[in-house]
């Protein structure tokens, strides 16, 4: 039921009038329930007797009469389920969803799919309209709502299987939006796909508009032909003769049921075939092949593992990019001549991901050249002069990181605003209980790794002395001592960060350096301060490439051009967009200049290995989720427009409601008169 004049429902507020009349002069005194009145002193309270509603029947009559009259004025409209009309009546709006995921390249599936799409177009009537939508993980409307068969056929011909995986839900949503805009009485979606189970994750809100039908056309066919795919590679780095090498191990899965033997697999590196092996694998099983180590000769070194040709060629190649590991360069500013920096030096000497390359400098020997080459400065309980503080401010503003240990000797000039906190007087906790660290912000990247129970207990760290830190505006306190004083404070300055620890990083004031959590704490702090992002050897088609981050390398500008695997040139940055979706398989090259041939960064893009699993699902699952019930073509119906007579008939209810309301008012008059007498 719907209403022609729903605004009249505002008058329902008038229903309060009879109730108020019945409760005239009632005082509002709601009882407050309280756990115990043990302490509540008894105070005399002027309470008046509550007046209760006495004539419930009369009230009900008045409210019902008013409600019925308001309902009548709102003009209720009875909407019956639309009467089905027979197949073939009225023009049709047809949306052809054509699966262009790479699995459609298996055997003759693509030919069968295009043939089916052309068949749908050929069966369109003169007044029917159709849209062609190609879909994989995303959707592309090739042609929108036209009756021209030639245009529809050329749109089908222009489509071809891409490198993406299958996702039905976005395509059905697009089809629903196209149908919703249509004025034609019959609406239909034709879904042409190989119906892989991996593309369907339940309903996902894919309901089509009411009355729309979904006709699935499955082009599955028997998957008996051999189909091998490279599902992943693992890269093991090693050093040999002062050069970095990588050992590539490829994981290969046989998706077909029959065993294969002596199949070739090759490793290409830097565009050249460097190694070739053979392997055998049972049907439905996986194996791995390890190649000889390859020397990484430069940055963005491209590699590809490639199998021989089979029924589904798209998953036969797996690309990756490796670069020589670049250490995080750290300057350890220390007074020197003692063992104060020993624990820090040991911590930075350990670690491969990333590797730390540290040098120790005395404050007066820290040169501009040192700062230029480094991304992290550690001030280990050091007094800092004003000129040095200004140079450090510039260093941090330009993106550098700084870790400050505020021990007994740490000083900082007042006129340079860089530290997250002012360094106050030392607090001696050598007598009595040593200070403990608590109140930790476990959501922060530095402490996130210690979040789980028994993964590093800061409460066990004893701090015998610390400096009283006064956080400045904009600084964040990440941990506190038990007395409430800040223990770890962080602040963003320009493009860089400064992290401050209120005690020493040696054993003078605390036993932190001999605790197991010292090493992960220092490593997490260092990687956070230099915004270290581990390199990703490959991405998957459908992922988003953020070019502003992909090209981010110290001393480099932002890329302006992306060269796609198919050779297309996409402008990015200033006039273009900063993010692009990976749609092709191969290497995306990011360049700083259109004329330059040097790559600032290379991103390897691979097909989603889940798509290589050709296990089929029942198309009726999609139909049931999208239309509410599994339908066959014979059950297709469409909505018919209502005639003026039937429209008038469905609105006549208001008349009866008005009569009933008037009758109730008459009854009310009678009852109230009787009550008065």
């Amino acid at each position: 039921m719907s209403f022609l004049a729903p605004l009249f429902f505002v008058a329902l507020a008038g229903l309060a009038i009879p109730v108020l009349l019945h409760l005239t002069q009632k005082e509002k005194k709601e009882v407050v329930f309280f756990p115990s009145l043990m302490f509540v002193r008894k105070i005399p309270y002027q309470a008046s007797r509550r007046r209760r509603i006495q004539h419930w029947f009369l009230l009900a009559l008045r409210v019902a009469a008013l409600a019925l009259i308001i309902l009548a004025f709102a003009r209720p409209l009875l909407t019956r389920p639309d009467a089905p009309v027979a197949l073939g009546q009225g023009a049709r709006e047809v949306v052809v969803l054509l699966d262009t995921s790479y699995s459609m390249g298996y055997g003759a599936r693509w030919a069968a799919a295009t043939e089916a799409a052309r068949g749908v177009v050929s069966r369109l009537g003169a007044s029917d309209r159709a849209s062609i939508v190609a879909f994989g993980s995303g959707t592309d409307i090739l042609l929108r709502s036209t009756a021209e068969h030639s245009a529809l056929n050329s749109a089908i011909a222009s489509a071809k299987p891409g490198a993406s995986a299958t996702r039905y839900a976005p395509a059905l949503k697009v089809a629903g939006s196209v149908l919703a805009e249509s004025q034609l009485p019959r609406r239909e979606v034709v879904l042409i796909s190989d119906f892989q189970r991996s593309g369907w994750r339940g309903q996902e809100g894919t309901a089509l508009p009411a009355g729309a039908t979904l006709t699935p056309i499955a082009v599955q066919g028997p998957a008996t032909q051999p189909n091998l795919s490279v599902t992943a590679v693992s890269l093991q780095r090693s050093r040999f003769a002062n050069q970095e090498r990588v050992t590539v191990t490829a994981g290969i899965t046989n998706r077909s049921e029959s065993a294969v033997s002596n199949q070739p697999v090759t490793l290409e590196a830097g565009g050249l075939k460097v190694s070739s092996k053979t392997f055998s694998v049972e049907g439905g099983a996986s194996t791995s092949v390890t190649f000889e180590p390859v020397t990484i000769s430069g940055r963005n070194y491209k590699g590809t593992v490639r199998l021989g040709a089979d029924a589904l060629p798209a998953d036969n190649a797996f690309h990756f990019v490796v670069s020589p590991s670049e250490p995080v360069r750290v300057i350890l500013v220390d007074r020197g001549g003692s063992a104060t920096g020993l624990y820090l030096a040991q911590a930075f000497a350990i670690g491969d991901s990333p590797k730390f390359d540290y040098v120790t400098r005395q404050p007066e020997n820290l040169s501009d050249d040192d700062l230029r080459r480094s991304s992290l400065v550690v001030l280990n309980d050091t007094p800092v002069s004003t000129p040095l503080a200004r140079r450090l401010l510039k260093f941090v503003e330009q993106g550098g990181g700084m870790l400050v240990a505020a021990g007994g000797r740490a000083t900082w000039p007042r006129d340079v605003d860089l530290l997250p906190a002012t360094i106050g007087n030392p607090v001696d906790r050598t007598r009595g209980e040593a200070a403990r660290v608590g109140g930790i912000e476990y959501g922060h990247p530095v402490f996130e790794t210690f979040r789980a129970p028994r993964s590093g207990d800061f409460l066990a760290v004893k701090v015998y002395s610390y400096r009283n830190l006064g956080p400045v505006t904009g600084a964040q306190v990440l941990a506190r001592f038990d007395a409430g004083a800040p223990a770890v404070v962080e602040r963003r300055v320009g493009a860089g960060r400064v992290l401050m620890w209120a005690s020493t990083l040696d054993q003078t004031w605390t036993d932190l350096p001999i605790r197991p959590l010292f090493l992960p704490f220092i490593h997490r702090a260092a990687t956070h301060l230099v915004a270290y992002i581990p390199s990703q050897p490959w991405s998957t088609v459908g992922q988003i490439l953020d070019t502003s981050r992909a090209g981010a390398h110290k001393g480099q500008s932002v890329p302006t051009l992306v060269l796609t695997p198919s050779g297309a040139r996409l402008p990015v940055g200033g006039d273009g967009t900063e993010v692009i979706e990976l749609t092709e398989q191969g290497f995306y090259e990011l360049r700083g200049d259109a004329k330059s041939s040097d790559n600032m960064a290379v991103v390897a893009s691979n097909v989603d290995p889940a798509e290589a699993d050709l296990t089929a699902m029942d198309p009726q699952d999609v139909v049931a989720a999208s239309t509410g019930e599994a339908q066959s073509e014979a059950a297709q119906t469409a909505a018919a427009p209502q005639t003026p007579e039937s429209r008038e008939k469905s609105q006549r209810l208001w008349w009866y409601l008005l009569c009933l309301g008037a009758a109730l008012l008459a009854a009310e008059t009678f009852v109230s008169n009787r009550l008065k007498t």
């Binding site: 407050v32 309280f34 756990p35 009145l37 043990m38 002193r41 309270y45 608590g438 129970p453």
Partner: protein
């Protein structure tokens, strides 16, 4: 075949935020406790441990493996080495489920707050390999789960089905419960203590007398502490149903003073009988309050 997993009904009271905050702490008994297996707590017996206690003279029948041969070499006398035993403990939550606990002014109800404390502490202790149990009472014992290493789930089930409904008192049920807790352990008493401090101490004494380490957690709503009501209305006692007309503005100052005096009296009285007392305001985040309480208790124990 269904593959769904069913949660224990009471596990909703095991607030992950609280557990994450207190997960690294230990709840250690400050008194000696009786247990069967080695644990974190001091036991009343000498036994197998690494903490040396004392020497005593050898008497025939002693195990000669425990003889201290170095002392014999120096003194030419036989001495036996004694070690302090460490034991696991019995842990029980005594939860007041009287009708007054069913109050929650603008936020969580006191009973739910108490249930989360009970569930979280029980979980913490259960992870220490200690035996856990609980008892709920109003004017009588409503539920009793004896301490056992396998009773974690039972405690959660019981917590889930508890419904405050009757008026409560402390003396009778706690005296009856003292009979059940013959073995020394840790007891956590959670209540709103709407009784005179002397009566409360009298009720708790038998439990303390038997050597139990008692932690008293006084749970109150912000309304009960501040009396922040605005309108003059009749106030009804949740337990007795008695109605009293109240003008909060004229009463507030006096009410707050009386509540603070009550709390001060409870703090002092419990301190005299060696019982840990803490006030929990249900408007405070439980994770923070419980963490503060447990860590301060842990510090106090270490100082001792």
């Amino acid at each position: 075949m269904s593959t769904e997993t069913h949660e224990i009904p009471g596990s909703r009271f095991m607030d992950p935020k609280v557990l994450a905050r207190i997960g690294n702490l230990e709840l250690v008994s400050k008194a000696v406790v009786d247990g069967f297996i080695n644990g974190l707590h001091k036991a009343p017996y000498f036994g197998a441990s690494v903490d040396f206690a004392e020497h005593r003279g050898y008497v025939p029948g002693d195990d000669i493996r425990r003889m201290d041969w170095r002392v014999w070499a120096r003194t030419d006398r036989y001495y036996i080495k004694e070690y302090e035993a460490e034991s696991n403990m019995n842990f029980s939550v005594l939860l007041d489920v009287s009708k007054s606990m069913d109050y929650g002014g603008k936020g969580i109800k006191k009973i739910d707050y108490a249930r989360i404390i009970a569930a979280c502490l029980t979980s913490l202790v259960s992870h220490q390999r200690d035996r856990v149990g609980m008892a709920a009472f109003d004017s009588d014992i409503v539920e009793y789960v004896p301490p056992s290493a396998k009773h974690m789930e039972t405690v959660l089930h019981v917590l889930d089905r508890l419904k405050p409904g009757k008026p409560g008192s402390l003396k009778e049920p706690l005296h009856k419960l003292a009979e059940h807790y013959g073995r020394r352990g840790v007891l956590v008493l959670i209540s709103d203590f709407y009784e005179d401090p002397e009566a409360v101490i009298e009720a708790v004494k038998p439990l303390r007398f038997r050597g139990n380490d008692i932690m008293v957690l006084h749970v109150l709503d912000k309304d009960e502490l501040d009396f922040g009501f605005a309108d003059a209305s009749p106030f009804e006692d949740l337990e007795t149903g008695e109605q009293v007309p109240v003008v909060p503005d004229s009463l507030r100052k006096e009410y707050r003073a009386m509540v603070q005096a009550h709390i001060a009296a409870l703090t002092q009285s419990f301190s005299k009988v060696g019982v840990d007392y803490a006030l929990f305001d249900t408007s405070q985040p439980l994770d923070y309050v419980l963490f503060r309480y447990l860590s301060s208790r842990s510090r106090r124990l270490k100082r001792r």
